[in-house]
């Protein structure tokens, strides 16, 4: 569900001089697609606390207003409400374009370039519009996009998987800056608070080349929305509670347009305890989180602006105690159990070892200048990421982390964009530098060495619209250089310095057209490359989570991929959208972790050795979305996605390939009354098939059985005093079904979480 609001404001002077308190606002709410007026619309004036309905032709009249400033809120059932600030001194006529069928559309991007240059395969979610996403982690928010799954480690650690690819095969960009963190770990969640941003986009097509080279799967963008030119303080506060884990959350965002600059600040807090499966508590799965951001926007001249964004993120995450194992015997014993070891009978908020303590800081400065149709942008950013992982250890070492990494990252870029008529081009150069440092004092040999990483990149993007067809082309070059300081296993030997250099090329071509009025076709083909990640090259040591000894392979080559996506959208009338996008990706030198035939004997017994190897794989699948609106009140959503990652040599499905799944939801929304405004009830059913085709020798445990989850949600707006209160009541896993998910790494040890009822209260100010 997403929506867009287009504003078109026409101020027409109707009277010459308005007498005091005799000013009127007349207007019309229309659907931008067919210019038809929308009945059942509601215009609410915050200052007078009056609301006005639109008639059959979508028109409304507000009479007898005094001169002054007014905040208007325009809403319609099934649409996302829209706000506007007005200085009224005479009779005014408003034309409001409300995107009535907004939630029917998925493939439109509103951030960045104008709608006519939309990349064929990018989608955006406006966080503010989607109250149902409140208090959800980034992983779950991204699941709103078709073709996205999540790899989890429990519930609090979730990483997106786009078209079967994850980790550093996809890029996460916070305010245009690639999140610099230890993304090589499947149990390392992205270190950001999605509610510090207002726009979340998923880019699978050409626009991705403007960001970075390594992203074979796609790019996730989190951005700031514009700050409204409103001199009053606005924003929202939200409070949330989740029954499972008794998790409490608070979030507050405030913004204001000052005389000299505009600002927006946000703060988020979260605290939760042990989660619960239908049968038992998942001991030590609590979470603490604190995040905040401060964004300043200043217009230097009408044509140039500066922006600065600062954010911090701290989290402490408990890892299921029963998943902490010493060797293969422990793993086998843990797999064979009904209830994990160390399961406590009672709930607790306490977090003990094993746990993670992660902090992230980001500061981005941006300068933009417009010269006619030429648009220049200069960005600078610095990030600091600290990751501490605590294991169960002997008391002497209990307070020391087993892993303590400090990553610094610096970034500079210069971009030029030009839009003229039917052409659009963009070019830029980028420079990144990362430095990773193992903080001493862990008492454990580091799995990842200290290293420095340079990346110089340049890209070019060109789009042209001829008649009904949009042609897109993009190319990118990256120079990547690693210098790693590899410690030797023997005490007496000094560390060895190893370096690697890569030259990467990416290119993409796209074409989109409207064959007939209601049938759109978009075709994108791209060649992209990915440099091996630091752990794939140089990791060495015992990796507890895989119960194996992991060995990096410095001889790895770049992954090369060729991907084609064909998206077809059919709009049947105004209330039906059907979209299907099959894709095919061929990856040469796909890097994966291969269990070796050899076992290495240690004091904890024999461990299997895992080495990074390369093979050719084929990835194919399709995403299907179907949205129907019936009688203005009912809407139906069906979403299906499947992906297969096939090893070419063995004709086997790769471990970790997501299982097919289908999501169906039915919602009913109506006008409501004076107290309940635009309420909505939604039922969601999700079915996930069993992952087939994995040979049993490839994994410790066969993929879990298929499962079916039911969810329900009630969502409405209340008007209390002069404040709007949005209330969401949501139940996930309503039937308290016992299941395990293939992409949850804790599936070896425990069931997934049971029923979770959450309440979110959101107050707009």
């Amino acid at each position: 569900m997403r929506s867009i609001i287009f504003w078109l404001l026409c101020c027409l002077t109707l009277g010459l001089t308005a007498q005091e308190c005799q000013i009127s606002i007349k207007g019309k709410i229309i659907d931008p697609h067919d210019e038809i007026g929308l009945q059942y619309g509601l215009v609410y004036i915050e200052e007078t606390r009056q609301s006005y309905k639109t008639d059959e032709s979508g028109q409304f009249t507000i009479a007898s207003l005094c001169a002054g400033s007014y905040h208007l809120r325009i809403s319609h059932p099934g649409c996302v409400a829209s706000k506007m600030f007005l200085k009224l001194d005479r009779d005014t006529f408003l034309t409001v374009h409300l995107e009535h069928h907004a939630h029917l559309l998925q493939t439109v991007d509103i951030s960045g370039v104008k709608a006519q240059f939309e990349s064929a395969t990018s989608n955006t979610i406006r966080m503010h519009d989607l109250t149902q996403l409140s208090a959800k982690p980034l992983g779950s928010i991204l699941e709103e996009f078709s073709g996205v799954n999540t790899i989890k480690n429990g519930t609090n650690i979730a990483k997106p998987v786009i078209h079967g690819l994850s980790g550093n095969r996809i890029g996460i960009y916070n305010q245009g800056i690639q999140l610099a963190s230890q993304q090589w770990g499947a149990d390392h969640a992205p270190e950001l608070d999605p509610f510090s941003s207002q726009l979340i986009s998923l880019v699978k097509g050409t626009d991705a080349v403007a960001y970075g080279g390594n992203h074979l799967g796609g790019v996730v963008l989190l951005d700031q929305d514009k700050i409204a030119k409103d001199p009053h303080l606005h924003g929202f506060h939200s409070l949330s509670y989740q029954s499972n884990g008794h998790q409490l959350g608070f979030h507050s965002t405030l913004e204001r347009s000052e005389k000299k600059f505009d600002w927006r600040a946000s703060i988020g807090l979260k605290a939760g305890g042990d989660l619960k499966t239908p049968e038992y508590y998942l001991s030590n799965t609590g979470v603490r989180e604190m995040a905040g951001s401060f964004y300043v926007f200043k217009e230097l001249k009408p044509t140039s602006i500066v922006k600065n964004y600062f954010s911090f993120f701290h989290t402490q995450l408990g890892i299921l105690r029963g998943s902490h194992i010493g060797n293969l015997t422990d793993l086998t014993a843990a797999i064979g159990r009904d209830t994990p070891f160390f399961t406590k009978p009672d709930f607790t908020y306490n977090i003990e070892s094993p746990s993670q303590l992660v902090s992230h800081f980001l500061n981005k400065f941006s300068w933009q200048k417009q010269q006619g149709s030429l648009y220049k942008e200069f960005n600078l950013a610095a990030q600091l990421n600290s990751r501490e992982e605590y294991d169960v250890r002997r008391k002497k070492y209990q307070d020391a982390p087993s892993l303590h990494l400090l990553l610094q990252s610096y970034f500079a870029e210069y971009k030029i964009k030009k839009e003229s008529g039917n052409r659009h081009w963009q070019t830029g150069i980028q420079q990144k530098f990362n430095h990773n440092y193992n903080v001493p004092g862990t008492g454990v040999s580091p799995l990842i060495p200290n290293y420095s990483w340079w990346n110089s990149g340049a890209f070019f993007l060109y789009k042209i619209k001829k008649e009904n067809v949009l042609y897109e082309a993009g190319a990118r070059y990256d120079f990547i250089h690693y210098i790693a300081n590899i410690p030797q296993r023997s005490v007496s030997q000094p560390a060895v310095i190893k370096s690697k250099t890569y030259h990467n090329l990416n290119s993409v071509l796209g074409i989109s057209t409207q064959i007939i009025k209601n049938w759109e076709i978009k075709l994108q083909s791209g060649f992209s490359t990915r440099t091996p990640e630091i752990n794939e090259l140089f990791s060495f040591g015992l990796h507890q989570s895989v119960a194996g000894i992991e060995e990096g392979n410095p001889g790895l080559h770049t992954e090369r991929s060729f991907k084609t996506i064909l998206t077809q959208s059919i709009h049947g009338g105004e209330s039906w959208v059907f979209e299907i996008s099959p894709y095919y990706q061929w990856v040469q030198n796909y890097i994966y972790l291969q269990p070796q035939a050899e076992y290495r004997l240690t004091i904890r017994g024999a461990f299997p050795v895992f080495k990074y190897e390369q093979t050719d794989v084929r990835i194919y699948g399709f995403d299907l979305t179907n949205r129907v609106e019936i009688f203005h009140h009912w809407s139906i959503l069906n979403r299906f996605s499947m992906v297969e990652i096939l090893r070419q040599d063995l004709r086997q499905i790769l471990v970790g390939t997501p299982a097919p799944q289908i999501l169906n939801s039915l919602s009913y929304h109506w006008e409501g009354n004076k107290i309940l405004i635009h309420p909505k009830i939604q039922l969601t059913a999700r079915y996930v098939w069993q992952r087939k085709g994995i040979v049993s020798e490839a994994d410790f445990l066969d993929p879990p059985k298929a499962y079916f989850l039911l969810g329900a949600e009630f969502n409405s707006e209340f008007r209390i005093f002069n404040h709007r209160l949005n209330c969401i009541l949501r139940a996930e896993n309503l039937l308290n079904h016992t299941y395990r998910d293939y992409l949850n790494r804790l599936r070896y040890y425990a069931n997934d979480v049971g029923r979770n009822v959450s309440v979110v209260l959101r107050m707009e100010i």
Partner: protein
Amino acid sequence: MKNFQSIFFYVFICSLILTGITSCHDDDHDHNDEELITTMRYTLLDTAGNSTVVLIFRDVDGDGGNPPEFVVTGQLKQNTYYQGSMQLFNDSVDPGEDITPEILQEGTDHQFFYGISTGLNMSFGYADADANGKPIGLKTILNTGGASSGTLKIILRHQADKNAAGVSNGNPTNAGGETDIEVDFVNLSIQ
């Protein structure tokens, strides 16, 4: 020009914040495996006091790297009572560290298990106790039977559930916890 001033100002601030927090020295001398157990020495003393058998497992460079070595000195005799004592060392650091006192101190968190394969004619019992009266296994009694050979599996579990069924009698099946040591002495013979 004003723009450039602010740009440089921010470059300065950004770099100041981060370099202030981290000063990068790439020395790895501090990354020793301090917690590592490299060496296990199980000494069996004949109760008559006239002979000892020592079973040693040693892997000085830790997990991976060079393979570990097994050393067995002395010969187990038939129908003999032995007093067993277990010692653990970290020899990857210089000087080497005796970890045994640490294990004893955290006795309630540790327990050794001695698994005797069916072929080996031998029985064992615990000869020590932690603060709760449960066995630790640093001190043991071994009683050999007739001539035979087989495998002795020595396990050290951290944070095992000592109250679980069979655990106090030396059966690790229900113990849980993390395995810190699991070493097999194969082809151990009693003559």
